[in-house]
């Protein structure tokens, strides 16, 4: 196990902290309890919070106790909001529950990234240790080359005061919130040795904030350099903050922090208006982002658009509060065959979500009753198996599964309760798969047409299953 892996495990493997977070006021969780999902029932919320019951997902009572205000579990007036924190005070989940209601605390396994370690001479372990998990700030690596103008920018918004050390001998300087810092690294004064793996020296940039970091931009034009296109050269990023964060790592015309190989966000939460968070990051090897409700609102729009998925572990990311997966994985690369099995309770749009990518083999979506838009969802996609449990509100299916003849990979498609027409031409669905697709349909909302031309089982499936529900079937 690499040093980085051990370090990451230390960061994310918060079993003890989680136990403290949930039952830190006197209760005990069985030591053998797996990292999984627990149900936390809180009563007495209309007055003084009084007690909690911790249950496993089979509803077995594991523990009970009282809840004081403050500490690692805070109940905030008017006593319906709760915050769960790591022992280091990092917020891992917030929510609202009514008296007698239930909050589900999802405890996920540590992020595990196999197959890639940063070159040893990056000394990322040493650099990342400069920022503690309990602090607010950023640590970054940036290559600096002899005889070149080494431009970069960083822009942070934050509360309190900030300082930045560029790691090039210029010392610690004040960082002003909302003001872009134009950087020109000084190669000669960087104290670290030549780094063979990058062919230059490595600047270790450390930003520390006394308050909360709310926004981070890494792809701005440098005013000394002028406008640029392409990627900024930031190589690695570790960020810690105790509030929801908006991260801006990409820009139109392909300009992005696309050289980032490592992004370590710990348990940070992303802000709703921070779309494109990991968009266009073609070099991404590690995304270290664990925990709870990591993304809220529409932060998932173009989330991993055209990014490298090979080091991204979706298991640790909750999509239950996202309102859109608009082109979230469009054009994703990485030579992987991922499965995406998620609840998307608040999601309205899956437009283009898995379009033009071969990184996903199987998609299983639950709690999909709010989805209205399936346009281009699997357009030119490599997905073989796609399932939604509730399509009753879907109104748009244009180009849902389009691919040229021979280029459609879908073998199984379930769109339960769908009431509108759809074109699934040339899907590799045999008669059984088509019959199962028909069985899942709802009742047609008026005149609706399903086109199955070119499907493997088009000539032998039982079309009466669908026509009995009011659909016209075109072959």
């Amino acid at each position: 196990m690499s040093a980085l892996r051990r370090k990451l495990d230390n960061i994310f493997n918060k079993k003890e902290d989680i136990r403290l977070s949930i039952i830190g006021k006197g209760g005990t969780l069985p030591p053998s309890a797996p990292l999984s999902a627990y149900s936390l029932e809180i009563d007495g919320l209309s007055g003084n919070p009084s007690f909690w019951n911790l249950k496993d997902m089979s509803n077995n009572l594991l523990d009970t106790g009282s809840i004081p205000s403050g500490g690692t579990m805070d109940i905030i007036a008017p006593n319906a909001n709760y915050i769960v924190k790591y022992a280091n005070n990092t917020v891992i989940q917030t929510g609202v529950i009514l008296a007698g209601g239930t909050a589900t605390i999802i405890v996920t396994d540590p992020v595990v990234c196999e197959g890639w370690d940063p070159p040893i001479d990056w000394k990322w372990d040493d650099a990342s240790a400069l920022l503690l998990d309990s602090e607010n700030g950023v640590v970054l690596l940036h290559p600096v080359y002899e005889g070149m103008d080494n431009y970069a920018t960083i822009l942070c918004n934050f509360a309190g005061t900030g300082t930045i050390n560029l790691g090039d001998g210029s010392g610690v300087q004040a960082l002003t919130t909302g003001v872009k810092l134009n950087i020109l690294f000084d190669y000669d004064n960087i104290p670290t040795a030549f780094v063979p793996s990058i062919g230059g020296k490595m600047a270790v940039v450390l930003v520390k904030i006394t308050g909360s970091l709310t926004h981070l931009f890494l792809q701005e034009d440098n005013d000394i350099q002028g406008a640029f296109r392409g990627n900024s050269k930031w190589l690695a990023l570790k960020l810690r903050t105790n509030v929801h964060l908006a991260m801006f790592l990409s820009h139109q015309y392909g300009r992005s922090a696309g050289n980032l190989h490592i992004i370590d966000l710990g348990a940070c939460l992303l802000k709703a208006n921070g779309s494109n968070n990991f968009c266009n990051l073609k070099s991404l090897q590690y995304l270290l982002w664990g925990g709870f409700e990591n993304v809220i609102g529409d932060a998932s729009q173009r989330l991993f658009d055209t990014s490298n998925m090979s080091g991204v572990h979706l298991d640790t990311i909750s999509f239950s509060k996202m309102t859109s997966l608009y082109y979230a994985f469009n054009g994703a690369i990485g030579g992987v065959q991922l499965e995406f099995d998620k609840a998307i309770n608040e999601c309205l749009s899956l437009q283009g979500a898995w379009s033009d990518t071969s990184c996903f083999r199987k998609i299983k979506l639950t709690n999909t009753g709010k989805v209205t838009n399936l346009q281009e969802c699997l357009y030119l996609s490599g997905v073989e198996d796609f399932e939604m449990d509730d399509c009753s509100q879907v109104t748009t299916t244009a180009w849902f599964i389009y691919a040229p003849p021979g280029g459609n990979h879908t073998q199984r498609l379930i769109l339960n309760l769908l009431t509108v027409g759809i074109d699934i031409s040339h899907a590799k669905m045999d008669a059984l798969a088509l019959n199962n697709f028909f069985i899942g349909l709802g009742t047609a909302n008026g005149a609706q047409t399903i086109t199955i031309t070119g499907c493997t089982g088009a000539g032998t499936c039982d079309q009466t299953i669908a026509t009995a529900k009011g659909f016209t079937i075109v072959n």
């Binding site: 015309y253 208006n273 266009n280 283009g352 005149a447 086109t451 072959n475």
Partner: protein, 76 residues
């Protein structure tokens, strides 16, 4: 391609082999493709020799989606 075409809310539908309707009506396309272009076979399904001819008849401008550029930078 010869077949039956229909304008469904601005989207061009195409039937190459069969159409099965909810009322039990079944259209076998090959029985109609030799009819005059524009012949209305059933419930708005018309005979055409080419997709282009159908698009022109229904005045549909068909565009294949092109993945959008990355959204402009959002400002604070």
């Amino acid at each position: 391609m010869k077949g039956l075409y229909k304008d469904e809310k601005g989207t061009l539908l195409f039937a190459q082999n069969t159409i099965n309707f909810p009322d039990g009506t079944k259209i076998e396309v090959k029985k109609y493709v030799k009819k005059k272009e524009g012949t209305d076979v059933h419930e708005g399904w018309l005979v055409f020799n080419t997709r282009e001819a159908a698009l022109k008849h229904f005045d549909i401008e068909e565009t294949v989606p092109i993945p959008l550029d990355i959204d402009p930078l959002r400002t604070l």
